[in-house]
């Protein structure tokens, strides 16, 4: 058993991805189509250009797997930005330290206003987000927010700076059930180029955050790569491997995968490897087939029509009615958003869209009995 997922990544340091993709042929993909459980190489084949022509068949398989394991059900949640203070300077992020934007951390009174507005829409699962600033948004503050929000929401997840095992345990005790943390890029060299300063420059500490959360007893762990930073095939491959590894060594957690594509934000970062809608669909269906039990999330970063069309290909969770500003739901002095939202539909409109697709929108699917 490898000690950490980092050991798994190191195993691939000499793997010739380009050669693998060059040699991949459609007949290899056909062979994978009939398999029930996929190997690492099979997964990589599904992400290759050789699988591009089989996308329809792959999508049908992904849909059957999703129906069997999740049914025709889509869970809805909303993000709630607590603070945009950040000490990091990630090249691609609207909240980066060097961006001259308005900074804000919600007071408890302001949080109540935000929560009230979100709860009015019927949302029962919130994802709390902060930039990385232990001085402006310390763990004690986040716990206080969680304790307050427990009264209005049945599930609380966090997408915050990486913590230690004990700190994750503190959040769980306060009422947190889920963690979302994106590695951004699994390419260690590129990671260090994009995260030159601040605590986020520690690649391994971030990579092992899901393991620490699992050790602390976190129920749901959602991972992902920020798509567009690097070549998508490798990023999705390592994300899938990460999910597989977490499922294998921490079987009690519900693993989820997100597919955030870089969207325009303050600072005008241009992704070096933008991916098309078709490539995004390929990434989703390949991941579904490789990880049949993983939740798959697509946020409002993506346009309404695309989200609607991708539902049948393996998605299980959508954000709805999202605001990415601190104070975005109820406050007049809201900040700039972290990135541009493509699907600006209301929660009601998303619910309607999910119904129209023949799926049941689910707001409440959690009991926190810890």
């Amino acid at each position: 058993m490898p000690i950490t997922f980092y050991d798994q990544i190191v195993k691939f340091s000499r793997f010739d991805f380009e050669d693998f993709f060059r040699q991949a042929a459609p007949k290899d993909v056909e062979r994978v189509m009939d398999k029930e459980a996929l190997s690492e190489n099979d997964f990589l084949l599904l992400l290759s250009e050789a699988a591009f022509g089989s996308l329809e068949l792959l999508a049908q398989k992904a849909r059957r797997i999703t129906w069997g394991n999740f049914g025709k059900v889509i869970q809805l949640y909303a993000p709630l930005y607590l603070s945009n203070y950040c000490v990091n300077d990630c090249a691609y992020c609207g909240f980066k330290h060097s961006n001259p934007i308005t900074r804000k951390c919600l007071s408890i009174a302001e949080l109540k206003e935000e929560a009230k507005e979100i709860a009015k829409s019927g949302i029962r699962h919130v994802l709390l987000l902060t930039g990385e600033s232990r001085s402006q948004a310390p763990l004690a503050y986040i716990k206080e927010c969680v304790i307050l929000l427990k009264k209005s929401f049945s599930m609380i997840s966090v997408e915050i700076y990486p913590l230690s095992v004990n700190e994750y345990a503190e959040l769980i005790a306060a009422g947190v059930s889920g963690l979302t943390i994106y590695q951004e890029t699994y390419d260690e060299r590129l990671y260090s180029q994009l995260h030159r300063q601040g605590p986020k420059s520690d690649y391994r500490f971030r990579l092992m955050a899901p393991e620490r959360a699992a050790q602390a007893g976190m129920r749901q762990i959602n991972i992902g790569a920020l798509l567009g930073l690097s070549e998508f095939k490798k990023e999705v491959f390592f994300t899938g491997l990460h999910g597989y590894w977490l499922e294998r060594y921490y079987p009690g957690i519900e693993v989820g995968v997100s597919f955030p594509r870089i969207q325009p934000q303050v600072g005008n970062f241009s992704p070096a490897n933008p991916l098309s809608d078709r490539q995004l669909a390929q990434a989703i269906v390949a991941t579904r087939i490789f990880l049949p039990h993983a939740g798959i999330t697509l946020s409002t970063r993506e346009a309404k029509e695309l989200r609607s069309n991708l539902i049948g290909l393996g998605l299980t969770r959508l954000s709805a009615g999202s605001r990415t500003q601190v104070g975005g739901y109820a406050l007049s002095d809201k900040t700039e958003g972290q990135f541009e939202i493509a699907d600006t539909s209301s929660v009601d409109a998303v619910r309607h869209m999910v119904h129209q697709k023949g799926y049941q929108p689910v707001f409440h699917d959690w009991l926190n009995v810890i």
């Binding site: 025709k72 029962r124 049945s154 957690i253 039990h293 049941q360 409440h364 009991l367």
Partner: protein
Amino acid sequence: METQLVIAGQPIRSRFFLGTGKFPSYQIMKEAIIASSAHIVTVALRRIDPQAKEENILEYIPKDCIVMANTSGARNADEAIRIARLARALGCGDWIKIEVIPDNKYLLPDNAQTIKATEVLAKEGFIVMPYVNPDLADARRLRDAGAASIMPLGAPIGTNKGLCTRELLKILIAEIELPVVVDAGIGRPSHAAEAMEIGAAAVLVNTAVAASDDPVLAARAFSLAVAAGRLGYVSGMSPIKESPQSSSPLTGFLC
């Protein structure tokens, strides 16, 4: 001669139990329950929202059904016990299906923790229906702990693979005096009929109905298959032979 299914002293009208997860809408779920004539339906407590501004699943379950809450989401006995008590406090009654699943990949139950939860909840007056791997020693422990039935899996949840555990199920059916309800893995009406033909008291189906193209029609198909399989079992069918046999190979010359 067909006999009435009785669980915990209560006559049960149908030997087909239906799970309520994974349906495309509550309305379709309701129509499926009605079409199948199911008397016992299971509901995951995690889906019941007492503060719901949205539709409440319980409003879509016909009033003459027994709602059996399940402890979906529980990873150990303590969590299952807390969920069961919460179900009772929310007015879901005393019927509880214990699901303790510490493995989200294969969704296989933890028998040891299930036995522990059964011991506690049976003493508190719950009608406990434990979902388990089919193991004879554990089934006896559950019986002794006060379970009202045993619910062994036919195959892992959602796989539709049928009675992969057939030989183990037959042993439980033969040895355990409680009703044995085959739960999980039943993917075709023929699987349901097969479970009933080997003597199961009932079957519980969810995914195969809810995720089909026409859940209402599928619910009816499974219900009919359960009834047919039961009649086949009660009728005392001839055993299956290894090779063809004429009706009187040794004495035919006498006619």
